[in-house]
């Protein structure tokens, strides 16, 4: 748990210098033979994969299959054991990230306006006031997520779906070319999912790369042209209809059952 009284040592935790930035060539994220191992288990093993910019990717896989670990690695928060992550044509600070909703305290005493304003933090810094133009941007972002009149509403008065819309508005304001979404639609109502998916498509049209960790394969089949199926050492990547096949899903389930059986026997269950 990253929140809570949160380890005192988090304050010394820096972004690992594990991401290589290169210029030249078409903009993309290249993952080359990536392995991430924790002391007692290897979560990602030998992953090689390209995410072009712009494109729309879903990451699908069983719990513990390495989805969140992959995102953390791409964010520079997790050090790979071997292998490389290369950002071509953009730098790590161009990444916007939506964490899983349950990591945030929804009763925190902020208004919707305060929350989305965080998206402009890099622009305004610590002291400056928000300019008229920036206020306009905030209002526009709220309108885009369908919360035009909510600027002064406290967060705790929002439903789960509305809260997620607020976080999407914050992503709009961050205006990043690469956007990672970690389970953005868990516990969110279907209408909100439909609205937010439209927004995701707009982002891709705006030449951004969006990578979303998802559970709902129906949603992936409907909206996501590319998929990375990830179950530790087993992975498939490419066009969704070629990845989400019966055989692949079957092998994924078998692999995950194999390691779950191991966890059951092991001392660290």
């Amino acid at each position: 748990m990253e929140h809570a009284s949160s380890s005192f040592w988090n304050i010394f935790q820096k972004k690992h210098k594990v991401i290589h930035c290169e210029t030249g060539g078409p903009p993309e994220i290249e993952i080359r033979d990536l392995t991430v191992a924790y002391p007692h288990n290897t979560v990602i093993s030998g992953l090689t994969c390209h995410f072009n910019i712009p494109s729309l990717w879903a990451i699908v896989g069983p719990n513990g299959g390495g989805k969140s670990t992959l995102l953390r690695t791409l964010l520079g928060l997790q050090k790979p054991t071997t292998g490389k992550v290369i950002f071509r044509g953009f730098c790590p600070c161009d990444v916007a990230y939506l964490a899983q909703q349950n990591q945030l305290d929804r009763r925190f005493p902020l208004t919707v306006g305060d929350t989305i304003a965080m998206g402009l933090f890099r622009e305004v810094g610590i002291f400056r006031r928000y300019t008229k133009e920036q206020r306009g941007k905030m209002q526009a972002a709220l309108e885009q997520v369908g919360l035009a009149s909510f600027a002064k509403t406290p967060l705790q008065a929002l439903s789960g779906g509305q809260f997620q819309r607020v976080l999407f508005a914050r992503l709009i304001l961050q205006d990043a070319p690469v956007i990672f979404l970690d389970e953005p639609f868990t516990g969110v109502d279907t209408r909100t999912i439909a609205d937010l998916m439209k927004l995701v498509h707009v982002w891709v049209e705006e030449k951004r790369l969006v990578i979303a960790v998802l559970h709902d394969t129906a949603l992936v089949n409907e909206h996501f042209p590319n998929t990375l199926l990830l179950a530790r050492q087993f992975y498939r990547e490419g066009a969704t209809e070629k990845v989400l096949t019966k055989t692949n899903i079957q092998s994924m389930i078998e692999t995950s059952q194999a390691w779950e059986a191991m966890i059951g026997e092991g001392p660290h269950g």
């Binding site: 990253e2 009284s5 949160s6 964490a99 945030l104 005493p109 305060d114 705790q156």
Partner: protein, 283 residues
């Protein structure tokens, strides 16, 4: 009226000093306590406040009953204990709360041991329960200095600190030095605990921070208004606590904390977001 509410402070210099110290303390502890609650670090505060004791005891050995010596010792040791328990929870399977509990019990025992073997029973009582009525000029300067420093730092780092409290991962990803703000905030917590320790003793130093902050949560729903309510409640408990302790000859530290507790209880009953109002439909 006047006799009851004002003349004790008009008549006695030591009461005036105590009142001033209380108010300075309240202004600093109010906002820090609110942030501590919002950051869900009440436990860390608890551990820090207990960990101050052995440090204060070492300061006491060297400098006697002087706040600067004990304060410095407390600050240093408090910080060491906080980081050690962080290390333990990182490298073992113990949760942070478990390792904190372990550490502050050890520090409490160690502190009591040092003081009772090297000093008198009275010294021990002073350190555990505070001596706000014995505040001298040096301590007063120290407390007001800490408050001024706290408020200045908070004003400077207000915006990123709030982001850090709400969503630490976000600040880290956008490269916003989240760790530094968190660290600065911890320094402020430790400093304010050291300041509160003279007035309330190590056992209750956290009370001046937590109780008003928790009460304010029931009255306000913006961070700035939480700060105001929290400081206001802390000032109220300081004033009425001293008044009670003068008229009824109660010990001052517990009286102050009990007043803060009374405000908390009242808030639960009558505040807009208290327990009673809640049932009549939320929000």
């Amino acid at each position: 009226m006047v006799d009851f509410f004002i003349s004790p402070f008009a008549d006695y210099m030591f009461l005036r000093r105590a009142l001033m110290a209380c108010m300075a303390l309240a202004l600093g502890c109010g906002p820090v306590g609110v942030l501590l609650v919002l950051r869900r670090m009440s436990l860390m505060g608890d551990a820090l406040s207990h960990a101050i004791l052995p440090g204060a005891a070492i300061g006491f050995l060297i400098g006697g009953l002087s706040l600067p010596a004990m304060g410095l010792g407390g600050f240093v040791v408090g910080f060491i204990v906080a980081s050690l328990s962080g290390v333990i929870s990182r490298f073992t399977i113990l949760n942070e709360d478990a390792s904190f509990a372990g550490f502050y019990l050890i520090s409490l025992a160690l502190g009591v041991l040092i003081i009772s073997t090297q000093g008198s029973q009275v010294d021990l009582m002073h350190i555990l329960f505070g001596t706000i009525l014995a505040v001298d000029n040096t301590s007063l300067f120290m407390v007001t200095g800490i408050t001024t420093f706290t408020l200045c730092i908070l004003a400077i780092i207000y915006r990123p600190l709030l982001i850090e409290c709400f969503d630490p991962g976000f600040l880290r990803v956008i490269g916003g030095w989240g760790g530094m703000y968190h660290f600065l905030f911890l320094v402020l917590v430790a400093l304010n605990l050291v300041a509160a320790f003279q007035a309330l003793g190590t056992l209750m130093a956290l009370g001046m921070m937590m109780l008003p902050a928790v009460s304010s949560r029931l009255w306000a729903r913006h961070v700035w208004s939480l700060f105001l309510f929290s400081s206001f409640f802390a000032v109220l408990s300081g004033y009425f606590g001293l008044l009670l302790s003068y008229h009824l000859e109660w010990p001052s530290g517990p009286s102050i904390i009990l007043m803060a507790g009374l405000i908390y209880a009242l808030s639960l009953l009558i505040a807009p977001f208290g327990a009673l109002k809640r049932q009549q439909g939320r929000d």
